[in-house]
């Protein structure tokens, strides 16, 4: 079998390379970040001085109040000796008035502080992520090239009380047709019974493996420029159900020095429509469900930062592009390990599929997919490498019906540069080889600028 290069790969490479080099000339950016740091340091110093002054004034108020209550001179006056004694009469005359005024000031300050604290506890916390990019291919939709808008992701975590929690994620993203769409990526309302048990209802990220719940739509928090292809989001060509609409019980419990984490969930089974998975936000018409769980162990001591775990789910997914719908019982079993420390971020995840054809009765089909990613944080630079592979039986209708359901390999080398704590530039060079439905390969040179706010 021969290998063909994507026709656009070579054509766009030269000018994209020039842009990438220009994009990585980050000296002005670094300089700007340093100036910001200096300004922040000065402001912090001023704030500390102000707070110290407030503290001293507050102590003075208490002192004067004590004096007014007991008719005794304040400590400072006691220390001043004879001169203070000579002025005691005059001080006693003005002290009640001064103490009263200071008491009013103190009351006002306390009210302001209490009000600020209240707002902090009950406010609406809003976060956001955004990214833009450029490359000889679009990172998500390889048929496009040039500059691209990734997404603008708004993330809301309203403070509702001690046990009720809510999480909403509204995402403006560019779809496969190049137009901007809006997606309510997550809409969860939950109740926290204890540290070890929180129940969520709504639409959430299906807790399989490690990556799908550790990293979400905001690319700034992810080391790499994009997700592994097979666990990408449904509308970006992912072949696993990244979202579930249903109920999710999750929590963790310390066992000795280790921490055990768990997830159990049930929701609407997904469907295939337009060659992509859909999570059936409104419910489904046949009542079938996705059921799954995830069990993890966070280690400590010399293995601090290491998490290992296993997961599984089962669902019935119909291909609604066919009439009548073609139904597959999908079973997935996974295992993962992630090592996350100050310097290292290494992730490995592997899934096997045992899918039964419920319509054509062609039997059970076995497929698998996995990736290994190694990253090393060297100050503001994080070089990373990833190898991923998906081997999907094309006789399995579940994969055959999906646009991105073909088998592939992808090798990627990347470099992340943290401009500051909230923004990152990422460069990735990758080669993707398609190995069954379409035989071919294409090289990518991608640059992304991702922020959070």
């Amino acid at each position: 079998m021969g290998t063909t290069k994507h026709p656009r790969a070579n054509r766009g490479r030269s000018w994209v390379g020039a842009l990438l080099v220009a994009g990585l000339g980050h000296s002005p950016v670094t300089h700007a970040a340093t100036n910001d740091s200096d300004r922040i340091a000065v402001l912090e110093q001023k704030l500390d001085q102000s707070l110290q002054l407030i503290h001293q004034l507050s102590a003075r108020v208490h002192d004067l109040e004590a004096q007014a209550a007991h008719g005794a001179p304040p400590e400072a006056d006691k220390r001043s000796g004879t001169a203070a004694a000579a002025q005691t009469g005059a001080a006693a005359a003005i002290a009640p008035d001064t103490a009263q005024r200071l008491a009013k000031v103190e009351q006002t300050v306390n009210q302001m502080a209490a009000s600020a604290g209240q707002h902090a506890e009950e406010g609406l916390a809003t976060h956001g992520f955004a990214d833009v990019g450029i490359g000889n291919h679009n990172a998500e939709f390889s048929k496009y090239q040039g500059a691209d808008v990734g997404e603008l992701d708004f993330f809301l975590t309203p403070r509702l009380g001690s046990r009720t929690r809510a999480l909403f994620e509204l995402n403006f993203e560019v779809g496969s047709d190049g137009t901007v769409g809006v997606d309510l990526e997550r809409a969860q309302i939950g109740y926290q019974f204890a540290d070890s048990a929180t129940v969520w209802l709504g639409r959430f990220h299906t807790p399989y493996g490690y990556y799908n719940t550790a990293f979400h739509h905001g690319q700034q928090i992810a080391t790499s420029l994009r997700r592994p292809r097979f666990i990408d989001f449904e509308d970006h060509g992912g072949i696993m159900p990244a979202h579930t609409v249903g109920a999710w019980l999750t929590g963790s419990e310390r066992v000795g020095d280790q921490r055990v984490t768990y997830d159990v969930y049930i929701g609407n089974s997904q469907r295939i429509t337009g060659g992509a998975l859909d999570m059936n936000n409104a419910g489904n018409t046949h009542g079938s469900t996705i059921v799954g769980g995830n069990l993890g162990l966070l280690l400590s001591g010399t293995l601090d930062g290491l998490k290992v775990g296993v997961d599984a789910f089962q669902t019935r997914i119909g291909d609604e592009d066919q009439s009548p719908s073609y139904v597959t019982q999908v079973r997935s079993f996974g295992t993962y390990a992630a090592y996350d420390t100050d310097n290292w971020e290494d992730i490995a995840e592997f899934h096997v599929f045992s899918n039964q054809d419920l319509t054509g009765h062609t039997g059970t089909h076995h497929s698998d997919a996995g990736f290994v990613q190694i990253g090393y944080r060297a100050g503001r630079y994080t070089p990373y490498a990833r190898y991923e592979r998906g081997a999907f039986q094309q006789s399995d209708h579940f994969f055959a019906a999906q646009t991105n359901g073909s088998s592939y390999y992808r090798e990627a080398l990347g470099l992340r540069f943290d401009v500051d704590l909230v923004s990152a530039l990422k460069l990735e060079l990758a080669e993707t080889r398609l190995t069954d439905r379409v035989i071919g390969s294409y090289d990518e040179a991608l640059l992304q600028y991702a922020i959070r706010f």
Binding site: E44, L47, D48, L51, Q52, I54, H55, A113, A114, G117, A120, E121, A125, H127, F155, T157, R159, S162, R163, R165, A166, L167, Q188, G190, Q192, A194, D195, T198, T213, A214, F215, H216, G218, I221, S252, R254, R259, D304, T341, D342, D418, L421, R452
Partner: protein, 134 residues
Amino acid sequence: MFTSSAKLLLATLLCVECATASAADLYVICNSRVPLSAADVRDLFLGEKQFAGAVKLVPVDNSAAQIAFLDKVLKMNAAKYSTTWTKKSFRDGINPPLIAGSDAEALADVRRTPGACSYVTTPTPTDVVVVSRL
């Protein structure tokens, strides 16, 4: 008999020793109604522990002592701490600790807020609980 230079040197050494002792001290404090153990402090500031009995915990970072706290208790740097909370918030829908700017502000927050815990570098008054001294 000490010469003036020797006195100056001695005074400097004493000041350095005092400063070193002061920098080494870190007190994790909680509101008086919080039943928290020293073993829970790490989980509290990483968002893994949110309740102590029926009391909802409110961690408060003290930016004046944060570097020392992160180093001694969480064993991570500031960048990793920030990233950890961003991921935690994005994954679990919980918000990172509030931030106080000084020992005095942290102490005021802990006094005022039921369930609040923070850390300071100076010995604390008796109306807050010292969970651990580091």
